[in-house]
Symmetry: D2
Subunit: 431 residues, 4 copies
């Protein structure tokens, strides 16, 4: 990929699947930061300080990352609301804050959403593409290409930020690119909207960031295709709220060799996400994503006396009064010297989109950087951001937030080295 | 120090200053573990599994650490209660549990405590040494030596586990060994009981572990003397309960670049420690020890937009109904994307002595190992165990529990290498 | 009913259906109180002080209630464990406490339980009656009569303290005594074990106290029969833990005219009760019992601006690490002046059987007193003790704990008057 | 007092001492209610529905209370900010909400505050009266009279809503009106600003509502003067937040005869009130006001086995990040059957001024009604609203919120009767 512009001038398109609370909060924040009325709180790419440098530089100034001012947004949604209308309904941000970024948000009206045979039945939104799955995918492809040209973009990243999908049993369609394409042509029930977005993105050489619990990036059909096309992937399910807290606390308990007899977690949330999760099928997808983290951190087989027999329960409840302000309550039963029990209770009054938005920004910039650097397939080093990190070799992921942070820092160091070399090479070549 | 026995046969004396809840819980647990009725929950030396080994060995089997069966206890206290009587009054352990270890606990009756000019005024305990400070220190020295001979010990470790002392302004006595000895002879008000215990231990080549917030191991007079004598030191103030939780949570908040606007911590505890801390002078010593941790972890100067302006308050309240079951409540005010506030509340229903006892065991074994390996002065690598880690060069300590754990693991690797060499050398020498 | 003994000498039999955690804790406590090693904490009959009296007498000394020393216990259970074995397994009480009351508990071995067509399928206990429903009911009747004679009892009370039953749609069997008896003879699936216990008790003139959420005392067949026989009834579902707290807090919120937008309640419990409630059918019975209380207290139709639109969710989760120590977490979203939102979080670490046992004692004594006084049918005035108070006229019950207390006090005053008269009359008659 | 207007037309002046968060929130809310953009949430006078009436009328329509549209406000403050400026600084209400009531708030600019010899030293506000205490009191008197005339008022009520004052030892000045006036003339250190406001109000026949912990209304000098002048008084210290919660929970614990071993309460708040309470002298006044409630509710002498030995601790901490959003955390240690311990934790995220404002409205209307009805001296029946209710006979007040509510309802019934009579009489007289 020839870099025709100075790296700081490169323009990157962000293709948002879902223009709900998360996407609108992301764009509002990016606009506010550019206006100088907000700091990029929660964003590693914007705030990380490189250690050991005499001048303590920010990561974004050390690595050739896209500048916030060079990001361009497109979106797809089942409602036709502009980002401003969507943000107003989501009520994550105060009216006065929204007013300040109104014009930027009003500019963005979504394309019609891709719908699969299942979602078409359940959803009430009517802003959806017509035609067969294949026709929808072709329309999507054309929209993305037109967007790229219209905005004169160097590269793009697709972000899955849509509602939680039902998980199907894997069938033929998952096994290879050819079989997936056959299923797509046949309009198979197993092909979900997320799979179509991911497939089209890869086809166009666009990396995919999966912020949702959807299984789409785990299908061999998709991962092989991504490797074939040299496209980076990462997912799944942003680590915010309760699971974030869990992957902070559990390593601490383990570092002190305290035993665990039980961990009870309940979540209450009142946004569209919560409403979808009130459906028992959808909640199963989500809860499974949340349950796996403790085993990986605590290693029960290595420490049977400490973690051989703990009871872990995770509940998610739709509770409208909370709105987008998710709330988690955890009760953790630990035991210490001579087996004596102790308890930790954590009540986290958090905000879903506020915690997630900076992660999306980081993932867009880092996945784009990986793409630019020539890294492809699952980006294991981005596990830091996800509840269920997907690994290239499909082994058990690390969930301990602090180990994930170390892995991330290692990768950033490698990216720095490779990009220095590339920059030097590019300069030589252009000289 | 000639090692006459097989390392696994070496006998180590544990000199306990204070035979209250903590010391009696420690001994009860060690006895129960030997009886096979308890696991050494909370103890890194007993439960740490060495990574990468084909056989996943426990640390205690890899390093030449003293075996639990080879530990011998002596104690000093202002009450004449045996360890059994003391444990019964402390009510940390259930009567049925205590019954199982009764004979071991009944064996241990403390020597009379050293008292300084200040404590002698306040304390109600009457089991104290008579005479001048110098005479008391000489009596202590004789007791330790007699104990060593009587039990045929190879080495010893002194553990400060007494009540929180008042902190004096440093004066002349702190500046050098000679000046300290002069102050001791003169019976200066500035010389506290803890200083005398530490001084006599060092004089006898015995390492000192300071589990309390006392400043005694920070005096230049003491640290120089320890280096001169080749004696390891470590402290201060065991990291349990709320501060432990804080040094787990704060690194997690920082890893995600979330801002902090305030952290309010309150503790309620009802044991003798709590009663002493009801005294405003004593509580000051303790609260200062607790306040420093956040700055070191969050680095406000590097991240002024996140941590430049947070309000940190720590309260300790004596609350008898809680007994030894310390309880902490923390309210943490954080902020995220676009400055939106969120809250974390942590209620930790913990047990002071249950959390502390395994740390004391680890510190005894690791400090003894350091001593045996020839390491001297402040053991920076043991910061993992302390609220206010003391460093040899008196720089700012690391408080992040996970970074402390990495530092500890590094030191364990070094200890392993040096002891392999030493063991090889010893074997050659004895061959 | 001729009172042959002095009222203080009268002997009352307590027929316990279910000899689990609750029943064994009740008997253990009554024994400990008689031994003088415990106070009757939580018991209104034992601790209530009559106002206005010069000598501030206890209720139990003012009303002709059975003395604790005159209570005799029988039990029925699906396990053959004695009360001591059952208490040991339930682990509500400490071993040392149990030891002190061991002989009394060991005396009590339950009769085989009545089983219906549904429970017989699910239950693992094998200590059950053989034969048809009718045969079982006849066996039960014989056991009760034999017990009465053997212990020379004046009166009896039957207490339903068994596990939560499935709720059936009402059918023919509910409509009249005759139809119920026909269903019993036919071995109908609609006839549950609880109904059989209640039916037999009433037949024998024995009052029934329903501590469980079972619907048995609501069937017209049963209530009519009780009125016919002159037998008092009361129920249902003891008000302990979270619902108790809710009926304390909600009246307080209302007294201050604060609005309510939502109330989220979650319960974790690990005892046999919790295990049964893990079954979605059983939990429905229980949750419905818990949901109704708020409407009755808050009166949404009278105060639509405050309570016209609140969201109430109640969850019960089986969580074994908690054992009998039930734990509740409530999040209450209220709003005040100008609609501003505020939150109340309540975390109640309670003990199921400890809270319930004194209520059972009170209900036995008060229902027996009602019986002795000639009151029959549903005892509305005992609503104070129940989650879902049953009223004679089947209208909406009062749930506000404080209003319930006032109603109870009124009834106690009436009981006092009537019993004074009766005592006087009895004396005249016997004179 | 001749009632020249229809009672619904009568104009009542509200004299606000202190124009901070509370006063400005009160006025903003009253304006919003009149505009129809807010409901009078939290106000008994506006929302109470009279029982038993066929038409379920609101209290405000049954009793001849002042209408919200007929209230006129004056204020005194140590800052010259208008109510709008003050509300903006207090940040209790959102900017958009404030905008809607801006013009009403901007109209109100306070008179200069009265300052005593102590406050004059501490306060930074410079909007204070000059001259001796006597001169200040004369200026105040003139201001009130001018205000009454300018607004054509029928009656007035003075509300003490200023910052917590230091409590002095009572001296001569407290003993009689004459001695108080002598002390005022002499400029005695014992005479506080609150006393002067109260004294001048009474002198002008204006009732006084004391929302603060100040002792001014307890002085015999003041209470005698009020009775002499026929003026009603009430106080002290509005019952909001933690104490409100305590007087809801404690009666519930007692109704169930559960024992109490300890109650630990901590408060964090960040408004001007919190800042003043950071001063150890002021906090003492406040904490004493909070400590007394439990004894009165639990009656330890009647129930020594339950309440004879509980430990009660109340802490107030200034914590700026919380702003006006006061937060309380309570840990309540109770015990039940056989002495088994249980715990209740309550975390109340409340808003100080939002909870207090409707109480001030109610107190103004009810005290004015008392005044209109001819009731004088301390209004015992208003104890419902206060942390430390003042009684006419200085006996121990009732603190149980539910008993206070019953007392209040009784008084309302009496007021209804007396006012019906009066209305009839008035009509006759005017006929």
């Amino acid at each position: 990929m020839p870099v025709s512009r100075e790296s700081s001038e490169e323009r990157v398109g962000v293709l948002l699947v879902g223009l709900g609370a998360l996407s609108s909060t992301l764009i509002a924040g990016i606009e506010a930061i550019q206006q100088g009325t907000a700091e990029p709180i929660g964003s590693l790419t914007q705030l990380y300080r490189c250690n050991g440098d005499s001048n303590d530089q920010a990561l974004k100034d050390v690595l050739p990352m896209a500048r916030l001012s060079n990001l361009e947004f497109a979106a797809w949604d089942i409602f036709s609301d502009t980002a401003y209308e969507s943000a107003t309904k989501a009520a994550v941000l105060d009216p006065t804050v929204l007013e300040g970024v109104r014009s930027r948000l009003e500019e963005l009206r979504p394309f019609k959403a891709v719908v699969d045979s299942n979602s078409v039945r359940r959803l009430k939104g009517q802003h959806v593409k017509a035609g067969s799955l294949l026709e929808q995918s072709q329309e999507l492809e054309a929209e993305i290409q037109a967007f790229k040209e219209a905005r004169d973009l160097d590269r793009m990243v697709l972000v899955l930020a849509n509602s939680t999908e039902i998980t199907h049993e894997r069938g033929e369609e998952a096994q290879s690119r050819a079989k997936f394409e056959a299923a797509l042509r046949a309009g198979s029930e197993k092909v979900t909207a997320s799979m179509i977005y991911a497939y089209v993105a890869i086809k166009l050489g666009v990396p995919v960031v999966n912020c949702t619990p959807s299984h789409c990036l785990e299908l061999p059909a998709i991962t092989e295709f991504a490797n074939e096309m040299g496209v980076p992937l990462c997912g799944k399910d942003l680590k915010t709220g309760q699971t974030l807290m869990k992957t902070i606390l559990a390593p601490g308990i383990k570092a002190r060799y305290l035993g665990l007899s039980g961990w009870y977690s309940t979540n209450i949330l009142g946004n569209r996400d919560g409403e979808v999760l009130d459906d028992p099928e959808s909640v199963k997808t989500k809860v499974n994503s949340k349950l796996s983290v403790l085993d990986s951190i605590l290693e029960p087989t290595r420490h049977p006396e400490l973690y051989g027999n703990f009871y872990h329960k995770v509940k998610i409840d739709y509770y409208p009064p909370r709105g987008d302000n998710k709330e988690a309550w955890d009760n953790v039963d630990i035991f210490g010297w001579m087996g004596y029990p102790m308890q930790i209770k954590v009540n986290f009054l958090c905000r879903d989109s506020i915690l997630a938005a900076p992660l999306v920004l980081d993932l867009v910039l880092l996945t784009d950087l990986a793409n630019r650097t020539g890294w492809k397939g699952h980006q294991d080093w981005l596990g830091f951001f996800f509840k269920s990190p997907l690994l290239e070799d499909q082994t058990q992921p690390v969930h301990d937030l602090f180990r994930q942070h170390i892995v991330l820092e290692d990768a950033l160091t490698r990216l720095r080295k490779q990009n220095t070399v590339r920059l030097v090479e590019t300069k030589s070549a252009t000289a």
